[in-house]
């Protein structure tokens, strides 16, 4: 998937969980682990490793928690 699309999707998830009580990072990580297929998660991790430009801070933090 295009990096722009991936960034958009990941940030949308972060936007929701940031409005919720509790730890948004953990919730974003668990949502992505539950719904994103491994190659999408790999792409996200690679993207974060290469700087993660445009990603919400919560997504960047969450990526570290995703298996």
């Amino acid at each position: 998937m295009s990096p722009e699309k991936m960034v958009h999707m990941a940030n949308q998830i972060a936007t929701f969980f940031k409005t919720q009580p509790g730890d948004a990072t953990e919730k974003v990580a668990s949502h992505i682990a539950d719904f994103w297929e491994p190659r999408m998660r790999d792409q996200l991790r690679d993207y974060v490793d290469r700087g993660g430009s445009g990603l919400d801070r919560v997504v960047v933090d969450a990526t570290a928690l995703i298996r």
Binding site: M1, S2, K5, H8, M9, Q12, I13, T15, F16, T19, Q20, P21, H31, A33, D34, F35, W36, E37, P38, R39, M40
Partner: protein, 965 residues
Amino acid sequence: MKDFILPPMLDDRDMGTKAKAGKPVTLTIDGFEVTVTEGTSVMRAAAELGIRVPKLCATDSLEAFGSCRLCAVEIEGRRGTPASCTTPVTEGMVVSTQSDKVRRIRKGVMELYISDHPLDCLTCSANGDCELQDMAGAVGLRDVRYKAPEDGGFVNHFKARNSSGEANPEWLPKDDSNPYFTYDPSKCIVCNRCVRACEEVQGTFALTIEGRGFDSRVSVGAENFLASDCVSCGACVQACPTATLQEKSIIEMGTPDRSVVTTCAYCGVGCSFKAEMQGDELVRMVPYKHGKANRGHSCVKGRFAWGYANHRERILNPMIRDSIDEPWREVSWDEAIGFAASKMRGLQETYGRKSIGVITSSRCTNEETYLVQKLTRAVFGNNNTDTCARVCHSPTGYGLGQTFGTSAGTQDFDSVEHTDVVIVIGANPTDGHPVFASRLKKRLRAGAKLIVIDPRRIDLVKSAHVAAAHHLALRPGTNVAVVTALAHVIVTEGLIDEAFIRERCDWDEFRHFAEFVSDMRHSPELTALLTGVDPAEMRAAARLFATGGNGAIYYGLGVTEHSQGSTTVMAIANLAMLTGNIGRPGVGVNPLRGQNNVQGSCDMGSFPHELPGYRHVKDADVREMFEAVWGRPIDPEPGLRIPNMLDAAVDGTFKGLYCQGEDILQSDPDTKHVAAGLAAMECVIVHDLFLNETANYAHVFLPGSTFLEKDGTFTNAERRINRVRKVISPRNGYADWEVTQLLANAMGAGWSYTHPAQIMDEIAATTPSFSGVDYALLEEKGSVQWPCNEAHPEGTPLMHVDGFVRGKGRFIVTEYVATDEKTGPRFPLLLTTGRILSQYNVGAQTRRTANTIWHVADLLEIHPHDAENRGLKEGDWVRLASRAGETTLKAMVTDRVSPGVVYTTFHHPDTQANVITTDYSDWATNCPEYKVTAVQVSPSNGPTTWQEDYAAQAERSRRILPAAE
């Protein structure tokens, strides 16, 4: 009516008047004692005893009318001969249905009727199915004394000319303008049943009786039926006791000789029908009165639009090709299956286990869908399965799962009969779910109040004898803001049901939510700038919902198909919990499901993260249980969703797809991206009735079977598991579950199902909410609603009665976030999309029926102001462009849409509305944002280059080589 061979459980007699609920009353009829409920008519009480009182104007789908006088009886202690249809039973009543007196009356009545009726019974299309004929027989009519005076004028309605060739001004020609039925005024006895059916059952009020006395006749208030308000639901045809309103198929073929009860394959209402047959040919579909979803009603699609099953474009032989540039080659089933299996296995060897996947069909049966997801999980060895719910109700699954603990709609359709205030949000039931709409309108006519939340003025906002108390015509994309503002009013004005919340919901979460929602920024006044909804109207609507009695929310894809689709579903759930509207008849959260079996396809584990019964693949216990039954290891990682499959295909890691009964190229958003994804795959297997748009990119075409050609079950929007029964053999040779099994076995599965009942047994053995379901129970009960298990052996009409499935109901904060799809100078208008009554989804079925007479092309609805600014008139070709693409279609100038909003349907591939829609999607589920696209509209001369290229490619890819000798 002829004696049909019906399944033995069915008592299909016309009881004359409706069943009533009440305390028992005992009376005596013709010497036999009978106990019925209070309010029952004498006619129905007699019918309970098996005594048929002659009748013409009465039928049990309608309220008693008392006009024909044929059902006169004698009652001890009462004067005269009361009409048994309008006389309610009383305790101890003694009735005689036969006496010299009533016999004379009935014969006299019939003699008068027949004096103005042609005696062409032998050649009449109702021969064998005519109540007038039956009643003439029943009363022993042998002679008609009334004749036209020798020198007088005409005294009948049925002769076109008199013997001297003079035209009869009372005679009217047959109206055959409707494609499915005729109206022959010469056969009419003015019993009023059609008029009452149109009012009471359908709620359209298209028919009336004009004139008085001898001049009375049925009128459509227009030139003919086609030009009238008639919606072709068939209720009038069903009610007509003579040949006056008659199906054209009966006129052509004659009366059927057997019937089989089955389930409609169109929308998520899931109506039960009797398929009436002559040998292996379908003569007509008649709504089944014991069907618990439809209660004897139907719409134009289910009732009449089944001709696609025999359409000349239906593909009956398997076909293959190495490349999509080549024409198709017809081959044997063996060759096609072998070709598909070796290609798919080859792709896995080259590109890995996860390089292929499936799309299950929401049009196929539960059993078929279960097998397709089992194919990917147990045979392909991955979780790459998805279904069209991805693009419609996946946010419902997520949103209701989070708040209530299960994705299921909470009610049955009967529940609407107990509703006092209805919110319809992002749904257009009169077009999308017509039979439910008729039931809703009936309740509204009885006094329930309606709140419509929709950018467009749908028919429910104002139609015959129905008007919304409030229409909140919001700006597309602002659902969360509107529903949250309603909650703001309810909380800040102290209208919550605190007792319900304290008992049934998590109180801490409620307090957090209440604090959030009470903030002034959620008030109708402050959100009005975003939503465009008048704050006073919004407050009034919120107060009405909170205080008006039983409140029910019905919603559709106008809720889910947004960037915040899941959030809106949660907001709706919040609203229901705030007002205590969960867990009893008349209330609830009711997702109106789009396709016939979209509920079932979700239940059956079509989602890439969930095994059957909505259990996540990461759950080791669940995996182990399936591994034990299936004998194969199950991947613990979620698979690809449809949009992810297409992205992965473009990236080169997803190479093969088995797509059953789904046309993603037409139905999914951003057509160019879908086409690019399909084009990048090396093996696309399309399993369908027709060479649909997706098949333009396919390498294997496996012919599908229609719902008439197989056994199975569909699960409708109320979780009702209904039987689909095979009425004819598959014209393509195999039912769809057999085709999937052939493919699976060619890939080494070793399956040996011989009947769908065995598949259902496996579903029941593995899925707790289905554990009590088997075909024997469905034969016995007709249908059951899941959960159906040890705790609920007869199914569950209402969910969350004693507590939420998840324990405590959970309030979730719903912050409005504007979609990134924004209008601007280049694309200043918002496009939203929807459906129309006569067409269904991508139109693959309905476009191949006479329904096209009502809707030959998709039109763009545009407000007069926006049209004027652009110099557009009604019927002009317009170019519709977004950042994703452009197409052309004709304009319809109407104030149904607000200024700044345009609307179209997606039923026709030559318009391809989805070339316009974008790849934005719901944050939680990837459900595409079909309902909001920034567009520009401008004058055009005709089809775009893209449309022409598309049509040319489609034509090229549909070439079929003649079969080899």
